[in-house]
């Protein structure tokens, strides 16, 4: 039995089709990433699977239970961390945790092993009101509250949005540990560099999946010739690359520009850029990353 099984889920808000018929399955113990920009439909999907929103059509099972008919069963055994902080701001760290444990008929002591690593980092502040915590600490408390009843499937909607790179790495390290405990994790993110930390990912845009696969398979399936290009004047370089008809796409990527090319040779490009007066020219064929794949897939669709 799959942890999550979704068939042809559709959902519209008025004229806007938020989800256009999604199909996918998540294995038990898998970290499954939903990767895509704001407005792609990520939160709508989470709310349907956590039984908080009804789909217009299609069926979905979570841990074998139907999200419509057996929603009460599902609510008992999943953990859901919404993108927006939704704990009680006026209660302390410890009080929040106790409330969530009590709601699920358990105690902090019973499942302390699950939250220990995370909770120890915020325990020095256990008497502080949740509303007065820093962003990173709020996130950790929310994760503890989500875990306190030992859920079988964990739904995390953009847990790393607006979080600094160091705290993001810490959060992903925690998810790896939870996976070892056998918990299935469905997690969404707008940060493409986090895709490689998932077992499988779905790239979502405009309510439809463009691709579902292991991150390395998606990267290996990239079939364009991709080069990294640099010169002393990066801003002008981008304009000159765009002006060359032989170059299919050019985008800034950190300290280089990434371009996809057809039959153009490296030598030809170098000559072209030299003629335009560029200095310190650097051109190198590279392997695509998830972000390259996302842009290629979305421009094709």
């Amino acid at each position: 039995m799959n942890a999550i099984s979704v068939q042809d889920i559709k959902r519209s808000y008025g004229k806007v089709e938020a989800l256009r018929g999604l199909n996918f399955e998540v294995d038990k113990g898998e970290i499954f990433g939903i990767i895509g920009p704001d407005g792609a439909g990520k939160t709508t999907l989470f709310r349907i699977l956590t039984t908080l929103l009804l789909a217009d059509s299609g069926t979905a099972l979570v841990d074998g239970n139907d999200v419509v008919k057996e929603y009460k069963e599902i609510r008992k055994k999943i953990g859901y961390m919404p993108g927006r902080f939704s704990l009680y701001q006026d209660l302390t760290v410890e009080e929040n945790l106790k409330v969530f444990a009590a709601i699920f008929n358990t105690t902090i002591e019973d499942n302390y092993h699950l939250i220990k690593d995370i909770y120890q980092q915020i325990e020095p502040f256990k008497n502080r009101r949740a509303g007065a915590l820093s962003g990173g600490m709020k996130q950790k408390l929310a994760l503890c509250c989500t875990l306190i009843h030992e859920p079988v499937v964990l739904f995390l909607d953009e847990p790393t949005t607006g979080v600094d790179p160091v705290s993001r790495k810490e959060l992903w390290a925690m998810l790896k540990k939870l996976k070892k405990e056998g918990i299935t994790i469905m997690v969404s993110t707008p940060y493409m560099d986090e895709a490689s930390l998932c077992d499988r990912i779905a790239l979502i845009q405009d309510g439809a999946f463009m691709k579902i696969d292991a991150p390395e398979n998606i990267v290996n399936a990239f079939d364009q010739k991709l080069w990294a290009v640099r010169s002393a004047e990066m801003s002008r370089l981008l304009k000159d690359l765009r002006a060359n008809a032989e170059i299919k796409s050019s985008f800034a990527f950190g300290d280089t520009h990434h371009i996809t090319v057809g039959s153009l040779s490296q030598g030809q490009l170098e000559t072209y850029l030299k003629d335009k007066g560029h200095k310190d020219i650097f051109i190198e064929p590279i392997k695509a990353g998830i972000e390259d794949c996302f842009m290629e897939l979305s421009s094709a669709s």
């Binding site: 895509g36 920009p37 704001d38 407005g39 792609a40 820093s134 962003g135 990173g136 949005t161 607006g162 979080v163 600094d164 790179p165 160091v166 705290s167 993001r168 790495k169 707008p190 940060y191 493409m192 845009q205 990066m234 801003s235 981008l238 985008f251 800034a252 990527f253 950190g254 300290d255 972000e291 996302f294 842009m295 979305s298 421009s299």
Partner: protein
């Protein structure tokens, strides 16, 4: 003249020092990345530079005005865009621009021609009469940036401007930033995307209220002997975490 200049700029809340004697300068037309972990003091520092919060001690000038003595003059000389944008959803595209132009005192006669020119540059003429709430996120972001610089300020402050948009829109947005800088507008930007740190002329990294590093991305990578800004950030911020 430097567009931003601070010496030992400090902000304390009770016994907590949020910004701890930071000193730095930003030149005209520079793209300056202001990085740091959550809680490192970026927002507090930025609020002081925008004239929204009085420093506890130290000196700062922005666009030629003292942050302690002349905060109101600073507000008129800068543009500001936050992650949440500040557009009026129930106004049309041109009405938003018209409103911000008026607020910042752009001469009446210049507003309409400037709106038309701006929309043409953005390739956005067809949406002139569209309600802002109907725009896709990527376009809201571009419009939000355009309203922030509509009055051609000396400096624009961007607080995590690219969160949540798709990769192509994120890059198009940076091209607008480049264009503004080419026109001489100084860009002061915070981001959690480390690839975007590479697009800045210089970046500073705040740790526990102090500026622990400030240089061009290339020099920082050389200094820390690493390949990416991500690793530079990780090395610096990890030191702070160890003390927590």
């Amino acid at each position: 003249m430097k567009v931003i200049e601070t010496r030992d700029l400090t902000k304390r809340f009770g016994s907590f020092t949020a910004v701890d004697a930071i000193s730095f300068e930003v030149g005209q037309g520079e793209i300056f990345g202001f990085l740091g972990a959550n809680g490192a003091g970026k927002t507090t520092a930025m609020r002081m530079l925008c004239g929204l919060s009085k420093p506890t001690s130290g000196y700062g000038q922005v666009a030629g005005f003292d942050v302690t003595k002349n905060p109101e003059k600073i507000k008129k000389s800068i543009g500001y865009m936050s992650q949440k944008f500040s557009l009026y959803e129930d106004l049309k595209v041109w009405e938003n621009l018209r409103l911000f132009g008026g607020i910042y005192g752009v001469p009446e006669k210049e507003i309409n021609p400037r709106i038309d020119q701006l929309l043409e540059t953005l390739g956005f003429e067809s949406e002139k009469n569209t309600m802002v709430k109907e725009l896709p996120l990527g376009w809201k972001q571009k419009l939000s940036f355009s309203t922030a610089i509509f009055h051609e300020p000396k400096i624009v402050f961007l607080d995590e401007p690219t969160g949540g948009v798709d990769p192509a829109a994120r890059r198009q947005f940076w091209e607008l930033i480049y264009d503004a800088a080419d026109r001489g507008i100084t860009v002061f930007v915070t981001t959690h995307y480390m690839d975007e740190a590479e697009y800045c002329d210089r970046v500073s990294i705040m740790v526990d209220g102090r500026i622990d590093a400030l240089d061009s991305p290339g020099n920082l990578k050389k200094y820390f002997k690493v390949e990416s800004m991500d690793e530079v950030f990780f090395q610096l911020a990890r030191g702070a975490k160890a003390k927590e």
